[in-house]
Amino acid sequence: MKRGKFLRWWLSGALLGVASLAAQAAEVVVYSARNEQLIKPLFDAYTKQTGVRVKFITDKEGPLLARLKAEGRNTPADLFLTVDAGNLWQAAQEGLLKPVDSKTLQANIPAHLHDPGNVWFGLSVRARTVVYNHNKVKAGELSTYEDLAGPKWKGRLCLRTSQKVYNQSLVAMMIWEHGEAKTEQIVRGWVANLATAPFPDDNRAMEAVAAGECDVTLVNTYYFGRLMEKKPNLPLSIFWPNQNLKNKSAGVHVNVSGAGVAKYTKHEREAIRLLEWLSSPTAQNLFADVNLEYPANPAVKPDARVATWGNFKHNLINVAEAGKLQTRAVMLMDRAGYK
């Protein structure tokens, strides 16, 4: 009995020694599904400015969520950073994030880009828009996402796979606007208009449009920016759909990459401070420009290259709706035969 007790003390003492080594300096731990080269410059800048070290680990959003969940109360994570509102919504849904009461964040991030309960905040905006081959299509022929389901685009549309969360969120938002029945009709129309099987990524879809395999596709703008930087002579142009509508489907569909504070953070104040800093003008440019995205803070101008694509009206539905309806969207796309 005595010996068992001694062993216990010895063991816990040893564990304590090992563990306390890691927990001393001021630092924040970030779990990030946004990849390393997009976040490291940012964290380096933060450390330089504040002296607070930022430790991070990257992974795909699904496993990262599973990890956060499994670690539960003892997770080392302070901040959870990911792409797509669907994933943020899911993290909130699983009770892995905690609400943040911050005037700075409320002021910096517009209402439709953060969780209604302030559990997470969008930090950069990703617009999913129309890219077309300007040798084959006039801008005047294009109007809305919904219009791409019409018969005049038969055999002229290319799409990325429905497995990608960007398309799932887009369809989820359309369910919110039109209801399931009408959305399913639209998606079926898209599928009927496909020139070729869906592509694994946005780049391939744009390359196909440029090569004339099809005329028009839907992509996130930063892919367009990256591709045009590499191959400026491609006959591709950007079009902002749904601009002249007055109803709730007005505006280009936007999604966010964003972050929330881990529910069981041990450094809540530090985590909030980092989150606030990320929404500030200094960080916002770094955050968005490094990947040619749009800053979430409306006071911050986008990168010069991004600005050349022109201004556009956002769809103002709260991006959290995309998360809520994602499951329905995935099932709808399965029913419509959108692979």
């Binding site: 990849n35 795909k60 496993p63 849904q93 995935v330 399965d334």
Partner: protein, 567 residues
């Protein structure tokens, strides 16, 4: 024989005796249940079973709505797709692997020595990277179809993004598994076997089909089952082709429909199928023995393929090498050259170091466990033991991310237990103890890659005749001593194969590495992930090329060493 020998030895003392289990007194039977081989096997199997059971436990809480949806809209398609993929890749890797193995092991043709090791090189490229390169070259927008359209007016080519395309690319990426195991089986047969066949009037071709091929079955099956398990578990390659399989459906159910139960249901079906297949194969070759005298190997009785036949064979091998390795690797080199300007920095030393360390330690651990499991099965070749060994190697058929999460959950659970206990006793907060340690990473690799090491070791052990075990026993050499002095020296070639295969596989592994690595512990594979996660495939070429080059090392050793004597 002394009555004091352990039941394991007693059971294997002669092949005939182990079938007479029912005549063994009951108390010895009970002893056997707790015997060292059995405990070893179960301990190893536990490593894989824990993550599998963690995943399967979600079955207890079925998600009716999602399941009904999957059943109606996606299961029929993905069943057909998965079966076609498995059949196609199985056929493809068998044809390529066996043919090339036989040609390089038993024939002489121009360039044979080069092809002997060069044909293994595709192993060093992650299959999904090869797939992406081929898609870039052969899709409508690719260089070849564009050239054909513009220069020749050829409009309609068979689409690469199709069932045939994905089968072709996977077969080219995975045939080296069969090539490697089949080749070492053919080599182990030595020349006596074929001489005997020829003295009985069989032509070389018929000798191949009647004698060499059937005798090589365990080796071929070992490689084939690895290739098939990898095919079933593959997510990266089929995603590039947007080809829906069981594995893509598992990912979708889990990470898009947020339904762990549905994912678990699908994964359980997948595992069930794999187990049934594996056991069927096992049953079908029961009571057959493949051991033969190890003497008479080597020698220069290769069949000389002179003149045009030699060149025909050489061009076939050359074509496979070109398609499976040279072309994709060249494209990667070109991309890497451009990416190196911005991305190559001193951190690459750390990435390479981490990759080497993890792969090296992981391969050693996997090989050790594989030998332990193989020897345990040899000591007690009971159906129960065979089943345990199959269970232990099932991790390879499970999609990587599923296994990674299944492995992480119990680790986190144990960590939480420790942290809570420390808090309760001392009032202090501590960080994770197990999570983010190398030990956990290595164990997770074992759970995933044991099949890779084991298949090679098992086939190797099968080729050692049991009379050697008995001879050793008569001389008083038993147990671990016998393993060390008799079996291990004879297992050199299969062990090297196991080490090399596991090494390159861990080098390419992604989900487990991502999930369990310590902070800041990036490897070459995680670099690929960082680039491809936002679609920057060209930049991913740099770490991919680095993996290929580092992964070449063991392949080079592997082939040079055994061949030094065989050539």
């Amino acid at each position: 024989m002394t009555p004091a020998v352990g039941c394991g030895e007693e059971r294997t003392a002669s092949a005939a005796r182990h079938r007479s289990t029912r005549f063994v007194p009951r108390h010895i039977l009970r002893l056997c249940f707790f015997s060292a081989p059995r405990i070893t096997a179960w301990a190893i199997a536990t490593l894989t079973l824990i993550p599998v059971l963690v995943v399967a436990s979600a079955l207890l809480d079925p998600d009716q709505e999602i399941w009904a949806h999957l059943w109606r809209y996606t299961l029929p398609e993905l069943l057909v797709n998965t079966v076609w993929l498995a059949l196609g890749v199985g056929l493809g890797v068998s044809l390529l692997g066996i043919t090339l193995a036989w040609l390089t092991a038993a024939c002489e043709f121009p360039g044979r020595r080069f092809f002997t090791w060069a044909l293994l090189l595709p192993l060093a490229l992650p299959a999904y990277v090869t797939a992406f390169v081929w898609l870039g070259l052969l899709d409508f927008t690719g260089s070849l179809p564009t050239w054909l359209r513009e220069a020749w007016g050829i409009q309609h080519l068979p689409p690469i993004r199709s069932r045939g395309g994905v089968i072709l690319v996977l077969a080219l990426a995975l045939y080296p598994y069969v090539y490697l195991t089949a080749r070492s089986a053919f080599q182990g047969q030595g020349r006596r076997l074929m001489e005997a066949a020829q003295s009985l009037g069989l032509s070389p071709v018929r000798g191949f089909f009647r004698v060499a091929l059937p005798m090589a079955r365990p080796g071929i099956v070992a490689g084939l089952s690895l290739a098939l398990m990898e095919t079933l578990a593959d997510f990266g390659t089929v995603s590039v082709f947007n080809y829906n399989t069981f594995t893509t459906a598992i990912y979708k159910a889990w990470f898009s429909l947020f339904s762990l139960p549905a994912a678990s249901q699908l994964a359980s079906i997948l595992i069930f199928f794999v187990l049934v297949l594996v056991l069927l194969e096992q049953v079908s070759r029961q009571n057959k023995r493949y051991a033969h005298s190890a003497r008479g190997g080597g020698g220069s009785t290769r069949i000389h393929l002179a003149g045009w036949r030699g060149w025909l064979v050489a061009s076939f091998a050359g074509l496979v090498f070109l398609l499976a390795f040279a072309v994709p690797f060249t494209q990667l080199l070109i991309w890497a050259w451009y990416a190196a300007g911005t991305d190559l920095d001193p951190r690459y030393f750390a990435f390479i170091g981490h990759s080497l360390l993890l792969s090296g330690l992981g391969a050693l651990l996997v090989a050790t466990l594989a030998v332990a499991l193989g020897y345990a099965q040899r000591l007690q070749p009971t159906p129960g033991m065979v089943f345990t060994a199959r269970l232990a190697t099932i991790g390879y058929a499970l999609p990587g991310a599923v296994l990674a999460v299944g492995f992480f959950i119990p680790v986190a659970w144990a960590d939480n237990l420790i942290i809570d206990q420390v808090r309760a006793w001392t009032g202090r907060e501590v960080g994770q103890i197990l999570g983010g340690t190398l030990a956990v990473m290595l164990l997770a690799y074992c759970a995933r890659f044991l099949a890779v090491g084991f298949s090679s070791v098992e086939a190797g052990l099968g080729r050692i005749t049991r009379s050697l075990d008995e001879a050793a026993e008569v001389l008083g050499v038993t147990g671990l001593k016998r393993l060390r002095r008799v079996h291990l020296p004879m297992l050199r070639v299969p062990l090297l194969a196991a080490l090399a295969l596991t090494f390159v596989d861990i080098m390419k592994e992604l989900p487990i590495t991502l999930m369990t690595r310590p902070f800041g512990w990036d490897t070459l594979a995680t670099r690929i992930f960082e680039m491809t996660s936002e679609g920057e495939w060209e930049r991913a070429a740099l770490p991919a090329v680095a993996i290929a080059i580092v992964g070449l090392l063991p392949i080079f050793f592997l082939i040079r060493d055994p061949d030094a004597k065989a050539c």
